[in-house]
C-alpha cells in the first residue's frame, strides 16, 4: 500500500511539476530557515550547560545601594564572601572566586613574548567546580602554589611550538616569574568564562582583596539545596562583612546578594563587568517567534496548495472511494504524501541550512554550527519538528480531501470546495499578516539603527583613533609615548584615559566632603589626561578644564557631568569640595551630558579625574587619510617601547558601532527572515494564482467573449487579494506596533513609530502579490477564449 501511495504521489508530481516544485521548495525554504534559527537558538541555550555540575553552580551577584544613586548590580562580590559562605552555609558543597589583575600583560619565555588578555587569579577549587580537561599537569594541585600558572592550549602554543613543552617551565608575566603547572583545553565558545591563563589567588596583593566587589564568586550547592535559602543567608553574611570592615565605616551602603544559575548567565545577566559579551533573551524570543512564523508561512502554502488542488484530485478521491477506500484509508494516503513531501523538504532544508549557516557565520559574525542539530537535543527537536510539520501540513488536507462528495465527483461534476475556500482565504490572510509583520518590524529596526548611528553623542567620534588595552610597559611610558606620537604629522593630539565606550568603568560614591555620605551619588569614574575633553570635543558648560601638569589638579580636581551635578542637588556647584573614597578635591568644571555609553541607557552621573599616566587606552585625534601607513607608523612607535605588544587600534566610530553589533545582527538575520518569509508567501500566492487561473479558465473565456478587457480581467483576478491584504494589515499592524514598541523600549533614546510604515509594508505585499496574480491573468487573456470554454 505504501508503495502505491508513493508511486501515486510521484505521478502527481510529474503531472503538476510547478505545483510540486512550489510545494517542496516553499516547505524546504521554511524548514531551512527555521533550522538555521534553531542552530542559533540551540547555541544560545547551550551556554554553560555542558559543565558536569551546571545545574548546581550559581554565581553570586551583588546589588549595592550607594548614597542616593540608583542601585548598582554587578556580577561580582566581596572577596571574603566565599570563605564565610563555605563556613556558615551547610547547603554549599564548594566555592571558587577569581578576579583579573593584569591589564593585557606581556607573557614571555626566553626570547619569545606575547600579550595575552584575560589572566585570572583563582582559588585552587576552580577545577573542582568547572570540569575543564587537563592536557598536561595535575588538576588537583595545579593552583595550590602562589606562583603556579595554568595555560590554555592556545596560549601555550603562542609561546611554545608544542604546547606540552610549556609544562614545568617558568614564564614571565610583566617580569614576574610563574611556574606552569598545567595545560588545559581551550574554553569552548559557549561559556561566559573568558581567560587565557589562570594563576593562583594567593599571588594577589592584599589591597585587591580588602575592599570592593572585585571577585567573580561561584558556589556549588548540594543537590537538594534551596538557592533562595542560601540567598537569605548570604544577605546576612554580606551585611555583617560590611559592618565589620573598618574601611567601609561611615559609607552607609546596603547590599543584597543573589544567585544566578550558571546556565542563565549568558542570556539573562546583561550586567556590566561580564567577562565577555552576553546574549539576550529578547533576541532569542524574537528569533523563536520568527522561526515559528516562517514555518507557518511555509506550512500554510502546503495546506493551501493541497486543498486548492482538491478540485483536480476530487475525481481520483471519488474513484478510490468507489473502489473500496475507506475515509481512514484516504486520510492515511494524504498523510503519507505529506510525510514524503516533508521528508524531501527536510533533506533539502539540511543542505540549505548548511549553506546559510556558512553565509551568516561569515557575514554577521554569528556562531552557527549546523552540527548542533545532530546532538541529542537537536535530534529530539528535529524529530518533533518533523512530526509537527507532517501533522500540520497533512491533517487538514487529509480530512478535507477525504470528505469530498463521491457521488458528484464520479458523475464528473467539478468539486468547488466552497468551505475550503474560506479556510484557504483565512490562511492566506494569516500568511500576509506574518509577512507584513516581519517587513514592518524590519523597517522599525533599521530606522532605529540609523537613528542610533546618526545620534549626536555629545563628542566627536570621527577621526579619533583608539589604541586599546596597551601593555603595562606602554602604560608606564605614557609621557614619552605621547610625545613621540604627537610628533607625527597626521596626529593632532593624544590623550590617555581609562574610558572606553564598550568598556566598564569604576563605579563609586561621590559626595560633598564633610557632609553625610547619604547625600552622595553613585558615579561612573573615569581617569583622563588633561587633553581628553578637548580631543573628544566634549563641551564644558561651566567652569574649566584641567590645567596641564597642574599639581593642584592631578588626582584631586573633579569634573562632573551635568547629570551628576543635578543628582547631587548642588545650587552653586563650582568649587565645592568633593570626596571619592578618600580622594578629596574641588569641582572645577561641569560638562554636558555626553553619551558615554550606548543609547540603550540614559546618561548616568559621571566624574572625571585627572591622571598623568598609567592609562589603558590612548585616544588620538588624527587627520583624515589612508589608515594603512598611519597604522604602520603608530605600530612602529609602540614597538620601539614594547616589541611584544600586539597592537589593537581602531577608530572610535568602529568601537561604537560594535556596541550595536547585536542589534545589527538581529537586523541582518531579520532581514533575511523577512525576505524568505516574503519569498515563501509569494511562492504560495503564485501557486494559488496559477491554480485559480486554471480553474477560472471557463469563466475568463466567457468574460472575454462578452467583451472584458485586460484591465477588467486584472481587477476580477486581483479584487480578492486586495481585500485579503487589507485584512492582513488590520491583523498585523497592531501586533507589530506592540512588539516593536517593546523592542524600542530597550533603548533610552528611540524613534517614534510611524503608522505609514505599516501601510507601506502592506503596500509592498499587495504590489508583489498583484504582480504575480496579474501575470497569470495576462497569460489567460492571451489564450483563445474558445479553448477556454472547452474546459471542465
Amino acid at each position: 500500500m505504501l508503495f502505491h501511495y508513493i508511486r501515486n504521489l510521484f505521478r502527481n508530481f510529474q503531472k503538476q511539476k510547478a505545483n510540486a516544485l512550489i510545494n517542496i521548495l516553499g516547505l524546504a525554504l521554511g524548514i531551512g530557515v527555521t533550522l538555521l534559527i534553531w542552530v542559533f537558538l540551540l547555541h544560545e541555550f547551550s551556554y554553560d550547560r555542558f559543565w558536569e555540575h551546571h545545574d548546581r553552580i550559581y554565581r553570586i551577584h551583588t546589588e549595592i545601594q550607594l548614597g542616593r544613586g540608583k542601585p548598582l548590580e554587578v556580577p561580582t562580590t566581596f572577596y571574603p564572601i566565599s570563605e564565610l559562605a563555605m563556613r556558615e552555609i551547610p547547603e554549599i558543597e564548594n566555592a571558587v572566586r577569581f578576579t583579573s589583575y593584569y591589564m593585557n600583560p606581556a607573557f614571555s619565555y626566553e626570547d619569545r613574548s606575547v600579550n595575552l588578555p584575560g589572566v585570572i587569579f583563582s582559588d585552587s577549587t576552580f577545577f573542582d567546580i568547572y570540569s575543564i580537561d587537563f592536557i598536561a599537569g595535575n588538576r588537583h594541585d595545579a593552583l595550590s602554589d602562589p606562583g603556579s600558572l595554568v595555560l590554555t592550549e592556545s596560549s601555550a602554543q603562542l609561546l611554545f611550538a608544542d604546547p606540552l613543552d610549556a609544562l614545568y617551565r617558568v614564564v614571565q608575566i610583566q617580569d614576574e616569574p610563574f611556574h606552569v603547572t598545567g595545560i588545559i583545553e581551550d574554553l569552548p565558545e559557549n561559556t561566559h568564562l573568558s581567560f587565557s591563563a589562570l594563576g593562583s589567588e594567593a599571588f594577589l596583593p592584599e589591597q585587591v582583596k580588602v575592599s570592593g566587589t572585585n571577585f567573580y564568586t561561584y558556589l556549588l550547592l548540594h543537590p537538594d539545596a534551596d538557592p533562595s535559602k542560601v540567598e537569605e543567608k548570604l544577605y546576612e553574611i554580606s551585611n555583617r562583612h560590611i559592618a565589620e570592615n573598618p574601611l567601609y565605616e561611615g559609607l552607609l551602603f546596603e547590599t543584597e546578594l543573589s544567585l544566578m544559575p550558571v546556565g542563565d548567565i549568558h542570556l539573562r545577566s546583561g550586567l556590566m563587568w561580564e567577562m565577555r559579551d552576553n546574549g539576550s533573551i529578547r533576541t532569542v524570543y524574537l528569533f523563536g517567534f520568527l522561526s515559528v512564523f516562517i514555518l507557518f508561512v511555509a506550512i500554510i502554502n502546503y495546506i493551501n496548495l493541497a486543498t486548492a488542488r482538491s478540485t483536480l484530485r476530487s475525481k481520483e478521491i471519488g474513484i478510490r472511494k468507489v473502489s473500496g477506500a475507506h475515509r481512514a484509508t484516504l486520510i492515511k494516503q494524504v498523510m503519507t504524501e505529506s510525510f514524503i513531501v516533508s521528508l524531501i523538504a527536510f533533506m533539502l532544508a539540511f543542505v540549505l541550512t548548511e549553506l546559510l549557516a556558512g553565509y551568516f557565520s561569515h557575514n554577521f559574525n554569528l556562531y552557527l554550527q549546523s552540527s548542533l542539530l545532530f546532538r541529542l537535543e537537536g535530534i529530539f527537536a528535529i524529530t518533533g519538528f518533523f512530526i509537527l510539520t507532517v501533522i500540520l501540513s497533512g491533517l487538514y488536507p487529509a480530512f478535507y480531501l477525504s470528505s469530498i462528495d463521491t457521488i458528484k465527483t464520479i458523475r464528473g461534476e467539478p468539486h468547488r470546495g466552497r468551505k475550503g475556500q474560506i479556510f484557504r482565504r483565512a490562511l492566506v490572510v494569516f500568511q500576509f499578516a506574518i509577512t507584513i509583520f516581519v517587513i514592518s518590524s524590519l523597517m522599525v529596526i533599521t530606522r532605529q539603527m540609523h537613528y542610533v548611528r546618526d545620534y549626536d553623542l555629545g563628542f566627536d567620534k570621527e577621526e579619533v583613533l583608539v589604541i586599546r588595552n596597551v601593555s603595562s610597559r606602554l602604560a608606564q611610558s605614557y609621557a614619552s609615548l605621547k610625545a613621540e606620537l604627537e610628533s607625527h604629522s597626521r596626529i593632532k593630539s593624544v590623550a590617555g584615559s581609562t574610558y572606553m565606550f564598550d568598556g566598564n568603568n569604576r563605579v563609586d560614591l561621590v559626595a560633598e566632603d564633610g557632609v553625610s555620605k547619604e547625600s552622595g551619588v553613585t558615579c561612573e569614574i573615569i581617569y583622563v589626561d588633561y587633553g581628553f575633553l578637548d580631543l573628544m570635543n566634549i563641551e564644558i558648560e561651566e567652569g574649566r578644564n584641567f590645567h596641564a601638569d597642574s599639581e593642584m589638579d592631578i588626582n584631586s580636581a573633579f569634573i562632573l557631568n551635568r547629570q551628576a551635578v543635578d543628582a547631587l542637588g548642588f545650587d552653586e556647584p563650582l568649587n565645592k569640595t568633593l570626596d571619592l573614597f578618600g580622594v578629596t578635591g574641588p569641582l572645577i568644571g561641569i560638562t554636558t551630558n555626553f553619551h558615554f555609553k550606548s543609547l540603550h541607557q540614559t546618561v548616568e552621573p559621571m566624574a572625571m579625574i585627572y591622571f598623568s599616566s598609567g592609562f589603558p587606552h590612548l585616544y588620538l585625534k588624527v587627520t583624515p587619510g589612508d589608515m594603512v601607513p598611519l597604522h604602520h607608523d603608530i605600530t612602529a612607535m609602540l614597538h620601539s617601547i614594547d616589541p611584544s605588544y600586539v597592537p589593537d587600534i581602531e577608530y572610535l566610530e568602529q568601537t561604537i558601532n560594535m556596541v550595536y553589533q547585536q542589534e545589527n545582527q538581529t537586523a541582518g538575520l531579520l532581514s533575511a527572515g523577512a525576505v524568505l518569509a516574503f519569498v515563501i508567501a509569494l511562492l504560495g500566492v503564485y501557486g494559488l494564482a496559477a491554480f485559480s487561473a486554471e480553474r477560472r479558465t471557463k469563466e475568463t473565456g466567457i468574460r472575454i467573449i462578452l467583451g472584458a478587457g485586460l484591465n477588467q480581467l486584472l481587477w476580477t483576478f486581483n479584487r480578492e487579494s486586495v481585500l485579503l491584504v487589507i485584512l492582513a494589515l488590520l491583523v498585523a499592524a497592531p501586533v507589530s506596533w506592540v512588539v516593536m514598541d517593546q523592542w524600542l523600549g530597550s533603548f533610552a533614546y528611540r524613534i517614534v513609530i510611524n503608522p505609514l510604515w505599516f501601510l507601506l509594508s502592506g503596500f509592498i505585499v499587495l504590489l508583489m502579490s498583484s504582480a504575480i496574480i496579474s501575470a497569470q491573468a495576462w497569460i489567460v487573456k492571451r489564450s483563445n477564449p474558445v479553448n477556454s470554454l472547452r474546459s471542465e
Binding site: 472511494k321 475507506h326 475515509r327 457521488i407 458523475r411
Partner: protein, 234 residues
C-alpha cells in the same frame, strides 16, 4: 439478492425539497441483468447510487444480500461495497496518473490482496478483456472504448456479485458500445448480476428486465423480450 421496499430519497436545501425517489419497491434476483430507464431527472442515478451503497435512502428499506443496509454508516457501506459491487461509469472514471494495470489493481489493494495475487488477478482479467497489450499505458493514451474496457476490468477484478453500470456506452460510438455491452452480457452469462442505468433502447435490449422510472416512481417493469417484440410488432 436486492430488495427495496418503499425506498425514498428526498434532497433538502434551505428553500427547496426535492423527492428524487418516491416509495420505490422492486426485487432483483441473483444472476439477473436489469436495465433502469427513464427520462433525465427521473431518479435513475439516485437509485443506482443507493443500490451501489454510495448513498443512503431517506426512507424505506433496502435489503442487500439479505441484510437491511439503509441505516449503514459510510464505513459499513464501504466494507460491503468493496467486496460485492463493481462499478462502470459513463465517463469511465479512470485515474489519469495510474497506468491501466494500476487502475485495475486498485480495488484489490483496498481488499488487502498481496502483490503477487494482485498481479495474477489483474493480468487474468486484462487477458480476458483483451487489453493486456495496453497494461502499461495511461488512460489518456487509450481510445474511449479501450478506457471503458479497462473500467470494466476494474469493476470485475475483485469478482463482485453485482456490477452497477451507469450509462456505460454513453460516451462511446456504436461499435465500441456494442463491444462493452457484449462484455457485460458475457459476465452476466457467467453468473454476475448486472444493473444498468441507460437511455439507450439498444443497450436495454441486452437486459432481461427493464425498470422504468418517472418522477421518482416505477411506472412499469417489463420483460425486455416482450418489450422488444411489442416494439417490433408496432
Amino acid at each position: 439478492m436486492i430488495k427495496t421496499i418503499e425506498l425514498t430519497k428526498v434532497f433538502r436545501t434551505e428553500e427547496v425539497e426535492t423527492t428524487a425517489l418516491n416509495k420505490v419497491s422492486f426485487e432483483i434476483r441473483e444472476g439477473e441483468f436489469v436495465a433502469i430507464m427513464g427520462p433525465s431527472g427521473c431518479g435513475k442515478s439516485t437509485l443506482l447510487n443507493i443500490l451501489g451503497l454510495l448513498d443512503n435512502p431517506t426512507g424505506g428499506q433496502y435489503n442487500f444480500l439479505d441484510k437491511e443496509v439503509s441505516g449503514y454508516s459510510e464505513k459499513q457501506r464501504a466494507n460491503l461495497r468493496k467486496r460485492n459491487i463493481g462499478f462502470v461509469f459513463q465517463n469511465f472514471n479512470l485515474i489519469d496518473e495510474l497506468s491501466v494495470f494500476e487502475n485495475v489493481e486498485l480495488p484489490l489493494i483496498y481488499l488487502g490482496y498481496s502483490a503477487s495475487e494482485r498481479k495474477k488477478r489483474v493480468e487474468e482479467v486484462l487477458e480476458q478483456m483483451q487489453i493486456m497489450h495496453r497494461k502499461n499505458h495511461f488512460p489518456l493514451q487509450l481510445s474511449g472504448g479501450q478506457q471503458q474496457r479497462v473500467a470494466v476490468c476494474r469493476a470485475v477484478v475483485a469478482k463482485p456479485h453485482i456490477i452497477l453500470a451507469d450509462e456505460p456506452t454513453g460516451n462511446l460510438d456504436s461499435t465500441h458500445g456494442d463491444e462493452v455491452m457484449n462484455m457485460l452480457e458475457t459476465l452476466n452469462k457467467n453468473g454476475t448480476t448486472i444493473i444498468m442505468v441507460t437511455h439507450s433502447q439498444r443497450d436495454a435490449s441486452y437486459s432481461q428486465r427493464i425498470i422504468r422510472l418517472f418522477d421518482g416512481q416505477i411506472v412499469t417493469e417489463d420483460k425486455t423480450t416482450e418489450f422488444v417484440l411489442t416494439a417490433a410488432a408496432q
